[in-house]
Amino acid sequence: MHVRYRCELIIERMAAPRACRILEEAGLTGYTVLPAISGLGRQTRWNRDADISASSDMVVVVSIGAQEQIEAALKEIESLLSNHIGVLSIGEVNVLRPDRF
């Protein structure tokens, strides 16, 4: 197996397309978006089913990629997170078929 990176971005639902565009432009070969149902942050406490406006909903964007692409995305994501609410974390993982990332 081969070392790659798992980038996990917890971000506002409305801002997720922006994050995804950044990942795509940085050359990452894919991502998957997961829904979240509630959360707590330093400023917010939200719950999907309890807010009809859905304006505080978060989602989780997961993208497995090579170091190079993830580094290429980092600066733009940092800039995105200066405007939008979100948390980025990157972990090391092993993958099959390394040429795909």
């Binding site: 801002a15 922006r18 565009r21 400023q43 917010t44 999907r48 807010d51 406006s53 859905a54 995105l80």
Partner: protein, 328 residues
């Protein structure tokens, strides 16, 4: 006042209060988001269709055109006023104030529907094109607020990853604009005949669906209040109550100038007095991500919506009667 009591004891208000109470008592009950969103689309289809069919019966004259234009003007103007009031009377910064102001220039379709029912209960009639007015008033306020927010010092740079058209698409093609205007046009095209086939779904059960939806809104409003009220100072809370009255008075003036009949005037006044809590918050997350939802949502959904639903409506109908009596 009879209308006031009738309003307070209508099933939709009572279900709203049920939800509000349950949330304030910290019940964990929820209505699933997917279900509530489906109901919201149903409600907008129904309102649009009914408006369209009404339009198809008569003729859209100059007067309707003038009302539409005035309404768009109101939607542009109200955020300017709201922003000034917020900046004068509260400690909200420019961004938070502009975002909140956008909500008050735009409209709440549920408040509009409740007004329609109160108007009918008061023995008045309202024209179908008011639905189009509602749809038209959704957007201009957002533009106003953006202009206001951007004038303050540093020009806003594009947020990383943002796409040129995305804000325009979100604002002009959000679900409520698409469904409301789309259904309006469809109702207009198919007319009374086409409506007959779909009335058992879109007309007869409408009131009941509204009850279910208002239960959910009560839950949302109650939870919003519980989590958010601490962030609102007394000045901000007061704004949530007097701003609808200010808007209502302005709209009453517009209604008088246009010589609108009482039913139509009541709806226009309600639209002006109501504040958005779905379309504008979404747009604000894109356009002004730094504005805090806990401020603008608590204000609009937690304070202004209940105020309008319970106390505002009878007032606006009374105001509309005054205005149209003065005109006649």
């Amino acid at each position: 006042m009879d209308i006031a009591l009738a309003t307070l004891l209508s099933p939709i208000v009572l279900f709203f209060l049920l939800g509000l109470g349950a949330a304030l008592l910290r019940s964990q009950m929820t209505i699933p988001e997917a279900f509530a969103k489906g109901l919201a689309i149903y409600l907008m289809m129904s309102i649009g269709l009914k408006g369209g069919v009404e339009i198809s019966k008569g003729q859209l004259g100059w007067d309707a055109g003038l009302v539409m234009m005035s309404a768009v003007g109101l939607s542009f103007l109200l955020p300017v006023l709201a922003f000034a009031l917020l900046r004068l009377t509260t400690r909200l910064d420019r961004i938070d104030a502009a975002a909140a102001a956008a909500h008050y220039g735009s409209i709440s379709i549920v408040t509009f529907v409740a007004a329609g029912q109160a108007v009918a209960a008061a023995g008045l009639e309202a024209a179908g094109y008011l639905v189009a007015v509602a749809a038209l008033m959704e957007v201009p306020a957002i533009i106003s607020a953006l202009v206001i927010a951007n004038r303050g010092g540093a020009r806003s740079e594009a947020v990383a990853g943002s796409d040129k058209g995305e804000l325009a698409r979100e604002v002009l093609l959000n679900a409520s604009v698409v469904v409301l205007l789309g259904a309006l046009v469809i109702g207009w095209i198919t007319g009374e005949a086409g409506m007959q086939a779909v009335a058992p779904f879109f007309v007869t059960p409408f009131q009941g669906v509204l009850c279910l939806f208002l239960l959910d809104m009560g839950l949302s409003a109650g939870r919003g209040l519980r989590n958010g009220w601490r962030q609102l100072g007394p000045g901000t809370i007061a704004f949530g109550v007097y701003m609808p009255l200010v808007s209502a008075l302005l709209a009453a003036g517009v209604a008088a100038l246009n010589g609108m009949p009482a039913g139509d005037a009541a709806l226009l006044i309600t639209l002006a007095a109501s504040a958005s809590y779905i379309a504008v918050p979404a747009a604000m997350r894109l356009a002004m991500p730094k504005a805090r939802p806990s401020i603008y949502l608590t204000l609009s959904l937690g304070i202004t919506f209940p105020f309008n639903l319970i106390l505002g409506l009878p007032l606006y109908i009374w105001l509309a009667k005054m205005v149209s009596a003065g005109v006649a």
